[in-house]
Each structure stands twice: as structure tokens, then as C-alpha cells.
């Protein structure tokens, strides 16, 4: 269980999977630890000092999360993560609006995270009309098409702020300008965006926004959902019980995790601009070095409108599965890590309508806070060699590797 960097063991792979999960920042961990053992109270035990202290720590954290997105603290509720936030936002808003206003139409994108799509599909089985819009080759929403899809009875539009596989930044402000005048609520899965790009819920006219702790150097098992107060957004809860989080989310709040998310948000707010600049340079270096050494590389998704830490690349003549199998020393992924034992072609890259080889050979590279120039150089070297050897094998051996 100890560190892998022992003399008789190979060095640990270079971690380039920051969109899958980020390391917990040591500064975040430091503020969490006292809440496990010393200030361990149940934040809902207001009958004694330990409980009240835990509650105060949770409320301070709530303020930090709110600040990161330009919200008020009381507009944030804590959840167990972005999957829960997205389930709660989409099912909760849709069920409430159908019951109280008769709105039963939903619009979302084909490239949304699975938990958004699955929540929408579950609503479809409950009788909601769910419209899943395609995206352009650049991965961006087609605003005209979105506008045309909106109806009197549209309850909710859900469009992610940043795509988890191709890093594309969607034009939320433009979408908000379409939804707000029509009284349609706009939800955005900002798991990949929060702490990476500036977000302001008022400027964007977003009504519901999901945040994940472990995507921004906080702990796993914690997330948040922004729920707008003016104009008022109402939800049907997913969990009932003790009535915590203003009745929207029952269950004991995990005080150490809330505090960890708060600190992660505070640090992100302070360091986001500088970090973005550094990662933009590192990413350009990665791409320049790689394309200088490897022909037949394509970038999936718009090159400019994406977060600084993301690349999604396809290699002509190389399939994702074999690339990942042979990529020793670099931890990258095919896309979303969702328990899949086998690698399937990414539905996100597929939705871009690109040539077949682009879909079959997509690799997601995620850079982040602890990535270094040295790591980038070594990773490019490993990736270039792996691609070259796979292509050589195919060129020489022919049929067997290409066999279906």
C-alpha cells in the first residue's frame, strides 16, 4: 500500500487524467483533518458546542463555494457529488414544474455527462418529453436550434458549462438569454468548469448549477448544487428525511468534506487565472511537441473554446483500446470513467460527426495543478513512441491487428 516509487519498482505513471479526478490539494487536506477527530460534531446537533462548531465550519464553506460562482451562500446546498447534484437538479426541477405548472418538456445536449442523460431518460419514462439536441463538429451547441426547440411548456434546459471529454466551453450566457425571458430554468453541469474558468450565475443567467469536489482538488464524495432564489427555483427533493439543507437534501452533512470543498473553492478562486495561464502554456507545449513528432494527429473539439487543461486527440490508424493498453508510463483515458470494464467508443466524440477513425482513436489528456513541464515532455515521448510502434506493427503485420 506504500508509495510506488521504491527502487525495485517502476516509477509511477505520469498522471494525465485530471478530468477524471484531481489529487486532493494538500492544503485542502490540512483543513479537513481536524474535523475528523477533534471538531467531529454532527453539524445538525445544535444542542451542544461540538455540533454548533461543525455547523459554523460548514456555513463558512458554503460561503466559499458561493463566492466562486457569484452566488449567495443560502443558494448553495451540499450533495454527495455532481452526479447527485445533476440528478437532483434535473429530476427535482422537472417533477416540480410538471406538478405545479404543467411544464413537461426538457432540452439537453447529446454530449452531456451520462448522469444528465440518464436522469433525462428516466424522466422520459415518467412521461416527460425529452429533446436531446446534437452539437456541431466543434462540440458547441447550435443556438438557433436550441432557440427553436424551446416551447411554452419547456421546464428546463440542461447544458454543461464544460464538457468532460473534449473540454469545450458552452456559451451559457447566450443560452441564459434565451431561457430567462421564457421562464425556462437553465441548469448547468459545471463539474468540469468550476475552478477552471470564471463562472457567475447572474451574468450567465443560470438557475441551477452543479459542482463536484474532486474535480477541483477537493475530496470525493462531496458536491454542491446552486439553486437560484430570485427568480425562485423550486425542486422536489430526491432524499427525504431529517429536512437538512432547507428540506431539499436530507441526510447528515459530512462536515469535513464540506470544509474541504469550501477550501478547494477558495483556492481555485485565488489561483484560477494564474493556473489557467500556466496550463495553457503547458498544453501548447504538449501539442507542439507531439505534432512535431507524430503525423496524423487530430484535435477533437474546438481548439480555442476549451478549458486550458484538456486535449482530446485522435491518431490515424490507432484505436483507443490498443493505445491505452500499450501506453505504459502515462495515465490517460478514453473519456468518462464510469465503471466501464471495457473501452467503448466515446459517445461524445461520436456526437461530433467526425470521420470514423477520429471516434475510434480518441484519447483524453488532462493536465492540472501538479503537472510539470518535465512530465509533459516525458509523456509526449512515450505517446509518440507508442503510436509509432502501433502503426509500425499494423504496417508490417497487416491483417491481424486490423482484423475486426
Amino acid at each position: 500500500m506504500n508509495d510506488g516509487n521504491l527502487p525495485n519498482r517502476p516509477a509511477r505513471p505520469i498522471y494525465l487524467d485530471y478530468q477524471s479526478t484531481t489529487p486532493t490539494d494538500p492544503r485542502v487536506l490540512e483543513v479537513m483533518l481536524p474535523l475528523f477527530t477533534e471538531q467531529f460534531g454532527n453539524p445538525h446537533s445544535d444542542e451542544h458546542e461540538l455540533g454548533r462548531r461543525a455547523a459554523a465550519a460548514v456555513e463558512q464553506a458554503r460561503g466559499e463555494v458561493a463566492s466562486l460562482i457569484g452566488a449567495e451562500a443560502r443558494e448553495l446546498i451540499f450533495t454527495s457529488g455532481a452526479t447527485e447534484s445533476n440528478n437532483l437538479a434535473i429530476k427535482g426541477a422537472a417533477r416540480f414544474r410538471r406538478a405545479h405548472e404543467g411544464r413537461s418538456h426538457l432540452v439537453t445536449l447529446a454530449t452531456e455527462h451520462k448522469c444528465v442523460l440518464e436522469s433525462a431518460k428516466a424522466l422520459g419514462r415518467e412521461g416527460f418529453e425529452v429533446e436531446i439536441l446534437p452539437v456541431g463538429q466543434d462540440g458547441l451547441v447550435d443556438l438557433d436550434r436550441l432557440a427553436a426547440s424551446l416551447r411554452e411548456d419547456t421546464a428546463l434546459v440542461s447544458v454543461m458549462a464544460v464538457n468532460n471529454e473534449i473540454g469545450i466551453v458552452q456559451p451559457l450566457a447566450e443560452i441564459g438569454a434565451l431561457t430567462r425571458p421564457r421562464g425556462i430554468w437553465l441548469h448547468s453541469d459545471a463539474a468540469q468548469a468550476a475552478g477552471k474558468i470564471p463562472l457567475d450565475v447572474d451574468a450567465l443567467q443560470v438557475d441551477l448549477l452543479s459542482i463536484s469536489g474532486h474535480k477541483l482538488y477537493g475530496p470525493k464524495g462531496i458536491g454542491a448544487l446552486y439553486v437560484r432564489r430570485r427568480p425562485r427555483v423550486r425542486l422536489e427533493p430526491l432524499f427525504d428525511g431529517g429536512g437538512q439543507e432547507r428540506g431539499l437534501r436530507s441526510g447528515t452533512l459530512p462536515a469535513p468534506l464540506c470544509v474541504g470543498l469550501g477550501e478547494a473553492c477558495r483556492l481555485a478562486g485565488l489561483e484560477m487565472a494564474e493556473e489557467a495561464e500556466r496550463l495553457t502554456v503547458l498544453r501548447a507545449r504538449f501539442l507542439a511537441e507531439l505534432t512535431a513528432r507524430v503525423p496524423g494527429v487530430a484535435l477533437n473539439g474546438d481548439a480555442e473554446r476549451r478549458i486550458p487543461g484538456n486535449l482530446n486527440l485522435s491518431f490515424e490508424g490507432v484505436e483507443t483500446q490498443e493505445l491505452i493498453d500499450h501506453l505504459v508510463g502515462v495515465a490517460a483515458s478514453s473519456g468518462s470513467a464510469c465503471s466501464s470494464a471495457a473501452i467503448e467508443p466515446s459517445y461524445v466524440v461520436q456526437a461530433l460527426g467526425l470521420p470514423d477513425w477520429r471516434t475510434r482513436g480518441a484519447l483524453r489528456i488532462g493536465l492540472g495543478r501538479f503537472s510539470t513541464g518535465g512530465e509533459i515532455d516525458r509523456a509526449v515521448g512515450i505517446l509518440a513512441e507508442t503510436v509509432a510502434s502501433l502503426r509500425a506493427r499494423r504496417g508490417a503485420g497487416g491483417g491481424e491487428t486490423a482484423a475486426e
Partner: protein, 377 residues
């Protein structure tokens, strides 16, 4: 300030030091347990190791354990996962069960704090519709251990599924899902010295239920969301440590009994709820008639003793307990009810100190001070 004497373990327990260390170590590692690379595989191995520890605590198979964000999610999932099934829940259940199934029929409690088996049988016999029965393993307020073998036999005879919220029981008293024939069991890590924010729903192998959280295919495609690796590791270790201490915990019922004997000696009018029922070793729910619980709790808190009036929920206002009401306790007496609950880090002296503080704050007959020392709100 001095470390308070903490006797509110049924609300939450401090994280065990070894658990905190294991979590800190896990939090220092990167890795999504669903990623296929080495970082992911290491995280996966940690999660699966913990799954085995949690399963072992409650007599389940590892593949029956589905990690959740806590007991509330587990209860909500169990109660909503079977579509239109008829629901029968005991009147003493935690709010997470009662509120998840507001339409459920209530099984009454006896005055002694146990589920009324005759009433359950009548309810089950009244309809042929397939039912789900939910009866907690131990009550969070009184500690009363519910007669799960008898409940299970009735459920089986009537073809009903049986869910048990074992959030308070697990790690404090032996529990065996398979032997008891439970179909679903809810667990929470932070009640047994693990972290807040992790729990599990144990689902009997072969039983299908609809997911509550949808998305990725985690937890055998039943509960989406990136696994809380460090939290799960902490849960696993806490489960192992609690399992190893079950005999010690059972023996600590003597502490509780001594506390209650001392209480009765000082306050002959004291009422201990569910005293005749088999109870968790760590829980005592009692009332000093005529003394408001709210006032006493404030005074005890100032004196550095943390007790509670019952379930820690969000209201901020102390409402009379629905559990005591279901036992037929008059509201005036219920408003005097206090809950003492101890755990892994408690010492016998903590209970003695609590008794002394109670005697001082409430003014017992024995110390002769009478009502003079009673706190006036």
C-alpha cells in the same frame, strides 16, 4: 476550552484515529476507482477491500454492499426502489424512512418501544398485494432492539420484502443479514467511528431495485457517481474495528445500567424509556419529569456535557419525539426526554460525570439542594 464530555454518539461519533490516518493516506493519492490505469486500479482495490469489511460486519456478501452517501440515501433508495409496492413501516423509524415513504402504512409500537408484531401480522394479512416492510434494527432514540427474527418470519410467511435501517445497530450489536433473512439493510459509517458522507445499502443477491441516482455504471450499475474512495476506505476500516469490539461494547451495557441506577437513586421519579426491551448497550433515553429537556441541555452544554434530546435534524427547534409519541408517552413527559449515547472513545467516568452534572443542574433530592439549583430558563 476543556474537551467536552461527548455523549451523543448516536448523532455522530468521532472518527477513530486509525480511520483518520487511513483516510488521510487515501486522500493523498489520486485515482478514480473507475479508471482503468494504475491509479484507478489502486483506488478500485481499496474500495473493494472496504466492501469486504463492511459486508463482514453485517453478515453479507461483498457484492451485496452498495456504497451510498449515507444512511438517509440508503433508506430513501430502499423505500423508493420497488415502484408501487405496498409499504409498511414502523412508527418508530428514523425520519429518513418515514419521509421517504409518506404514503406508507404505519406499524404501531408497543409502550415498551418495540414494533407491535400482532399489528404487523394483521396488516400483512389484510392484503395480498406484494409488500415491503421496513423495521429498524435499533431505534436511534431509545436504543430498543427490534425483534427482527420475528418480523422476518412474518414477512416471509406473507411474501413481503424486509428492509432494516441498521444505521444505529451496525457495529454496536451483532447483525447478520443472511441469518436474519433481511432483503435490504441501510448502514452509515459515521455512527461507528467512520467518516460522515458514506453509507451503504445492502441488497440481497438476486434482488432487483430501481436506481435512485442515475448516470455512470458504478456500484454494479445501481448507484451512479464517482466512488468516495477515502470515505469508503474509512468506512471499511471503521467496520472492521467495530466488529472486533462488539464484545467490549456488549459489556459496556453495564456502564449504562450503572448510569440508570445512579439516575434512579438521585431522581426516584426518573423514567427510562424502553427499559424493559433489549437495547443497544450504548443508549439510554430518560426523562426527569417536570424538567424541560431544552433547558437541561443548555445547562449541560455550558457545563461541558453533550447530550441530545433525540434525533439531530435540521429544525433548530426541539420538537417532541415521534418515537416516544408512538410508544404512548404523554407529550409533557416527552418534552423532558434526554438521550445519552456513548461509543468507542467513551470512558466510564464520562457517564459518572454526566450523572454528577445532571444532579447539579437538575437538582436531585439526594444532594438536598432541591429546586434551588434548578435552572430557570
Amino acid at each position: 476550552m476543556l474537551d467536552p464530555i461527548y455523549l451523543d454518539y448516536n448523532a455522530t461519533a468521532p472518527v477513530r484515529p486509525a480511520v483518520a490516518r487511513a483516510m488521510a493516506e487515501s486522500l493523498g493519492r489520486v485515482g478514480n476507482a473507475s479508471s482503468l490505469h494504475r491509479f484507478g486500479r489502486e483506488a478500485r482495490a481499496a474500495v473493494e477491500g472496504a466492501r469486504g469489511e463492511v459486508a463482514a460486519l453485517v453478515g453479507a456478501a461483498p457484492e451485496e454492499v452498495h456504497f451510498t452517501a449515507g444512511g438517509t440515501e440508503a433508506d430513501n433508495w430502499a423505500l423508493t426502489g420497488f415502484g408501487a409496492r405496498r409499504l409498511l413501516v414502523s412508527a418508530g423509524e428514523h425520519e429518513a424512512v418515514l419521509e421517504a415513504a409518506p404514503q406508507a402504512e404505519r406499524i404501531p409500537l408497543t409502550g415498551g418501544g418495540l414494533v407491535d408484531l400482532a399489528a404487523l401480522e394483521r396488516l400483512l394479512a389484510a392484503s395480498d398485494a406484494p409488500a415491503l416492510v421496513s423495521v429498524q434494527a435499533a431505534n436511534n432514540e431509545t436504543g430498543a432492539l427490534q425483534p427482527l427474527p420475528e418480523v422476518a418470519a412474518l414477512a416471509r410467511r406473507h411474501g413481503a420484502l424486509l428492509h432494516s435501517d441498521a444505521v444505529q445497530a451496525a457495529g454496536k450489536t451483532p447483525l447478520d443479514r443472511a441469518a436474519l433473512g433481511l432483503d435490504l439493510v441501510s448502514l452509515s459509517a459515521h455512527k461507528l467511528g467512520g467518516p460522515q458522507g458514506v453509507g451503504a445499502l445492502v441488497v440481497r443477491a438476486g434482488l432487483e431495485l430501481a436506481p435512485l441516482l442515475r448516470g455512470g455504471g458504478q456500484e454494479r450499475r445501481r448507484r451512479a457517481g464517482t466512488e468516495n474512495v477515502a470515505g469508503i476506505v474509512g468506512f471499511g476500516l471503521a467496520a472492521r474495528l467495530a466488529a472486533a469490539e462488539l464484545a467490549d461494547m456488549a459489556a459496556r451495557a453495564a456502564w449504562r445500567d450503572a448510569f440508570e441506577a445512579g439516575l434512579r437513586a438521585r431522581f426516584p421519579e426518573a423514567v427510562v424509556f424502553a427499559a424493559a426491551a433489549p437495547r443497544l448497550p450504548n443508549t439510554s433515553c430518560f426523562a426527569l419529569p417536570g424538567r424541560s429537556a431544552e433547558t437541561l441541555l443548555i445547562a449541560l452544554d455550558l457545563a461541558g456535557v453533550a447530550l441530545s434530546s433525540g434525533s439531530a435534524c435540521s429544525s433548530g427547534k426541539i420538537a417532541p419525539s415521534h418515537v416516544l409519541a408512538a410508544m404512548g408517552v404523554p407529550e409533557t413527559l416527552a418534552r423532558s426526554a434526554l438521550r445519552l449515547s456513548f461509543g468507542w472513545a467513551s470512558r466510564r467516568e464520562d457517564l459518572e460525570a454526566c450523572l454528577a452534572a445532571l444532579a447539579k443542574q437538575a437538582g436531585s433530592r439526594q444532594n438536598g439542594a432541591g429546586s434551588k439549583q434548578r435552572i430557570i430558563a
